[in-house]
Symmetry: C2
Subunit: 717 residues, 2 copies
């Protein structure tokens, strides 16, 4: 059911209070608003950057400590090491799932479908609360540090959005930190702009990709994008980049424990292949096809899993969720520790002079060529190198150039199957979980597999398996998430190499096309499952044969007269759950006239405050009074991510119910209208481009008062 | 006057012919359309890429040949060299200005204001014709090869747009190459999408910046941007990158004469400073302020110059234009050759082992440390290094790292003043001219000046003057063009260095803010001068106090009845020059009803073809006939960049004038409407976001037939 979601409105309600407030404000005030907006953008950048640094630092330290301890113990006993490894992972995952289930249920999963929904115009309750933020931060640390097959990038996007929303309202609603100087941000429109900034900041922080962040936000919110917003979003992303970079510089001096070793995603492949010959395009296209197929399969499997979890497993209560997560943690640990034990070790390759790659690496350190369960000191275990390692390092190893023949086909295949299964199973457990890094792991594994065959087939020198691994990663993400430009730019930014852009585009194009043949993107599927009705950017094909009137069906429009009895309001509001009602007035000559649209939330504010109740059923201006200005604009603002006032909380005396309210000063006097036989395609474009919530379908007009063309909108100063 | 401009319509006219054609088409046809769209995107990419390669190749070869010849001659006589240098430049510029004035007048200038206008919704006649394309290509070669203070990047954007538009209509309209399979692109909407692709391709080709190209197109057309378009635009840009790269690879083998030496902009600064300390931020901010001031001054001066040229100088005829351009060419040559003669030469610095920089460079080759008019063989002339050189190499020298103290403050200052003046004077002559490269030259000069002071002030080792030059370039472009994100990304892509992104942003932010305090951006100012009424993305402040009705003023709406006499049509069309007319019908009960909007261009097609004339003044459906389908949709398409049919060309017999036409099948049955008292801000948003041309202002509706919310727009398949 759609009862937990509610639409947002990008429109400004130009009611009387709004116009009063506008009139009071001068140019100076506008400058002040701009200043505050930029200041908030700065704060969002700093906040998100710091949150990202904190998460990375914690994860790296937990993971580093875990692996060094395990390596120490397995010098003596592999079994004891195994137990310790499982136990540490279990504790971390347990803490994460405990935080999520008992404290911040809205923080589970990646959060991107919900944020996507928010930017598309749907408010899911609870996603932007302070407790969600906290849960997300600490939950991510536990789940990623605990070695589950999930990433911390998706959650960071959610974290960025939370930070933005909280800053915009001056802190948590519950603890009433709302300060006066923030009252300028009173509309849902401003809040959505802030969340857009936060979302971009999250991507920028997750991947250290400021441009990618902007484009990500852009691809999601293209409909009401404005140039000024673009610049502000970009500013926020750049601030994030600066913060993260400063923190990393500070960490390089050894202030942050294990952090220096891994952490922020940058898989520099600058030493690798930069050129490509035309015959390589075929295997690359093949990678694209695999990516599309595996990605679509991933979406489908996770959809079934989530469906089953929501409707069956998770209904059984919190305890089941906790047990489930712990079970998955134990299985993951067992597989990642156990499987490499069955691999035969490989002798180290001849060390090149200045490649900087040690074989085997020093025990307990991150890096290539892990020596694990090997007889000889000069050997390494190729499966352990990717499986018994942090994900960041595994990816770095898969991407690495100049390490041809490091992995065996058998090892990569084993890893691919196991990790794919783990990723599918883990998806949807009650922990914060991103799909970006697992996707890169899966993709780069089969990419490297293809690369191995290409290397041995073409027998050329300058072909690098690592480049194919990168393309594989891009193809899987393209096949699963179906993002285009932003994904492309993110891949370029995390590999810090502009030269591979055309190749990445090629595989993305193919994998997206292949994936689209089967199902929708991961986030869209998940959003649909969560009953978040996303409006796509393009109207459906059959809409061109429908009219606006047909879309409304045989509705009986619920409307209010201009002056309405309180008891009527209450009964009408009770009788349905619409959120917007047209207001109709009768002129002297008895004709009706639609004078505007009133929102349920505004009606509830009026009912609660009661100051506008009047005894007479006449409109206030006809009684010679001025229109009342008893309300501040900010009173009408609905608190973020919550239901707002409920009718049940308002108590009415019998006298109250006999009073009247004149709605004229509070309604939106000019909602957008469409004539009844406009084709639904055009209606859709209007609705979606302007970010509307309600659109009135009206009869054809009887006459035209004027024509507006471009010339009429160019005002001379 | 605005008589040469006409608005474009992003709306689809859903008239009867359109709906007929839609109904005939199945899903297969839709697939075909998509295929053709992508194929066209591919062609646009290839075409623009090849055009860019051709221009670069020619310019490089002309310039290379010019400089080697001059260097050869000055071994014997400086005076003879001077004459030859002037003469070659003169011939090149003369050919350029001749092509422009006599063959393709629409190709003068950068073309970006016009393209910006086109994407904003205004069609300037002649900008997208075949002859404009040819003129632009060959004109650019002449003007840039001739050493004027202008660049070839702006023209490339225009070239990309022309190619896109011509491909979209299957060739030149004049030579009727229009092929059947392109008839799918019949609306202005499709054409505008194509031009968007072409515009991005142009930027991508000019700067080898695919992402920058996408963002450039995006910043200009944010209003009707759609995700699918984004992906297509990106694809086109990437194709351009591939084409250019392939061509350059081919040229590296020595197939293209001088081309290997310079050519496509990539000023790699990867060897330079990558880090910055906090005390450097102050001089960097200072650069931003200078950039804002100088940029705003540049805009203002060029505005005066262009104003004067348009209203006074260029009115005197073609000959004046040609003489003017030649004069400027001679002056430019004289200054760039003469001024370095007055400089004292500097001894070469100690060569570092593997810096790869020779001092002095071999004569006649491009590069750093030009030996010009020096006594000693081991000396160089710092002014000649930037002035007596191609602009690409001059910029490369200004950006170069590890060459501290190469330039003297005096030399740089001289160059700054002279070049700034030249750039201002050259702007607006009748040759194709971009402002990007001159802007970079100016900016990097003062940037390097500031850098010199920083180096000598802070006395740290890792500060590079080249980095400051880059920041200076960004600041000047920001202060003059006021682009934001796209400029930033372009700067990053042409320097191939992601690490300086935050710094570039900082200076851009400052210089844009400073510049905005004085005037509008270069392109906006120029567009205003050319009477191109750009709609900004944000409504003006005072619009919130106006209503739609007030914007229309006291218009007397010119409308048509449904069935109208031909003579009436003719007289109404003659009496005004509106392009859209509401059509009003009378119902049986005598009430009027607005049934749609008819465009002047459609009326003219009807009048010309005459097949729809009827004798009876009754609507056709009331006579029991079916609606006529005598027209193909493509007949209604206005040819690109031309006035279309004129009323004067149609001949009427007296019988014709007594006939009637039923307009119902041809009108747009559902134009967008707004109620009369909607605030102009909202009207503006609607108009601009949907890319409209006409908007009907109507009375408030009497009743509401239905409400459309998000739920009604989510159709289940
Ligand atoms: N005032 C109204 N009178 C009659 N039908 C309405 C009214 N408002 C909405 N509807 C219809 O009711 C159905 C459910 O919409 P719903 O009531 O959930 O809209 P809403 O709550 O106002 O907006 P949203 O749910 O998007 O926040 C839709 O088909 C819509 O067209
Ligand atoms: N049919 C009409 N009747 C009366 N006034 C009109 C009509 N159409 C446009 N106008 C008004 O005439 C003025 C000039 O507009 P103009 O006639 O140039 O519009 P247009 O030619 O239809 O559109 P554009 O010039 O943008 O292509 C504007 O103020 C506009 O509101
Ligand atoms: Mg609802
Ligand atoms: Mg006009």
């Amino acid at each position: 059911n759609g009862s937990t979601v509610e639409s947002l409105d990008y429109e400004v309600v130009e009611n009387f209070a709004y116009r009063e407030e506008q009139a009071k404000r001068g140019k100076l005030y506008m400058g002040y608003v701009v200043l505050v907006k930029w200041f908030l953008a700065l704060l969002i950048g700093i906040g998100t950057g710091l949150a990202a640094v904190f998460i990375n630092l914690s994860v790296e330290n937990f993971a580093g400590w875990k692996f060094s301890l395990t390596f120490q113990i397995i010098q003596k006993s592999y079994f004891a090491g195994f137990l310790v490894y499982i136990l540490i992972n279990l504790v971390l995952v347990l803490s994460s799932v405990y935080i999520i289930t008992c404290f911040a249920p809205a923080a589970s999963g990646s959060g991107i479908p919900e944020i996507k929904g928010y930017l598309n115009g749907i408010d899911t309750h609870g996603i932007l609360l302070f407790r969600t933020l906290i849960g997300k931060i600490f939950g991510s640390i536990g789940s990623v540090g605990g070695g589950l097959a999930l990433g911390k990038e998706g959650p960071l996007v959610h974290i960025g959005a939370c930070i933005a929303s909280l800053l915009g309202q001056g802190g948590s609603t519950k603890y009433h930190l709302r300060s006066r100087w923030l009252q300028v941000f009173s509309s849902e429109r401003d809040r959505r702009d802030l969340v857009t900034c936060g979302c971009a900041a999250g991507v920028a922080a997750a991947f250290r990709a400021p441009v990618g962040g902007v484009l990500f936000a852009l691809e999601e919110v293209t409909s009401w994008w404005r140039s000024q917003l673009m610049w502000r979003v970009f500013f926020t992303s750049a601030i994030v980049a600066v913060v993260v970079r400063t923190a990393m510089g500070w960490c390089k001096d050894g202030n942050c424990g294990h952090f220096g070793a891994g952490g922020f995603i940058i898989w520099d492949i600058s030493g690798g292949q930069e050129d490509y010959s035309f015959e390589e395009l075929l295997p690359m296209a093949f990678i694209g096809v695999i990516g599309g197929l595996l990605g679509a399969l991933f979406n489908q499997l996770t959809l079934y899993m989530t469906h089953w979890r929501r409707n069956y497993l998770h209904k059984k209560g919190i305890r089941v969720k906790i047990i489930e997560a712990c079970l998955i943690s134990v299985i993951t640990s067992a597989i990642s520790f156990g499987l490499p034990l069955f691999r035969r070790c490989t002798p180290c390759p001849e060390a090149e002079a200045n490649s900087g790659i040690e074989c085997p690496q020093a025990p307990g350190m991150f890096g290539n060529y892990v020596n694990f369960y090997c007889q000889n000191n000069k050997e390494y275990n190729d499966l352990a190198t990717i499986f018994f390692n942090t994900q960041d390092d595994a990816i770095r190893n898969l991407f690495s150039a100049k390490t041809a023949h490091e992995f065996s086909a058998q090892g990569l295949l084993t890893f691919l199957v196991m990790f794919y299964t783990l990723a599918v199973v883990t998806f949807g457990t009650a922990v914060p979980a991103g799909q970006f890094v697992p996707g890169i792991m899966i993709g780069s594994t089969y990419g490297r597999l293809v690369g191995m065959f290409v290397v041995s087939f073409y027998k050329k020198l300058n072909i690098e398996e690592g480049t194919y691994a990168l393309l594989g990663a891009a193809s899987f993400l393209g096949g699963s998430m179906r993002m285009t430009v932003s994904l492309c730019v993110i891949m370029v930014e995390i590999t810090n190499n502009l030269k591979l852009l055309p190749l990445i585009m090629l595989v993305l194009l193919i994998s997206k096309a292949v994936g689209d043949a089967f199902n929708e993107g991961l986030y869209e599927e998940q959003a649909r499952l969560r009953a978040i009705p996303l409006l796509e950017s393009r109207p459906k094909y059959q809409m061109r044969y429908m009219t606006a009137k047909e879309a409304c069906g045989s509705q009986n429009v619920v409307y209010f007269p201009r002056v309405v009895k309180v008891s009527d309001i209450v009964s009408i509001l009770r009788s349905n759950d619409h959120n917007g009602f047209p207001v109709v007035d009768h002129s002297r000559s008895g004709e009706t006239l639609v004078i505007g649209l009133i929102l349920r939330s505004h009606l509830l504010v009026l009912l609660q405050s009661k100051v506008d109740f009047q005894h007479s059923p006449l409109p206030c201006d006809s009684r010679g009074d001025l229109l009342p200005i008893r309300h501040n604009l900010s009173e009408f603002v609905k608190p973020v991510s919550s239901k707002g006032i409920s009718l049940r909380d308002i108590h009415f005396t019998p006298d109250d119910l006999e009073m009247y309210i004149d709605l004229a000063p509070f309604l939106n006097p000019s909602p957008y209208v469409v004539p009844e036989d406009m084709s639904l395609t055009k209606v859709y474009n209007l609705f979606r481009q302007l970010g509307l919530r309600h659109l009135l379908v009206v009869p054809r007009p009887a006459r035209v008062i004027g024509m507006i063309t471009r010339k009429d909108l160019i005002l001379e100063d």
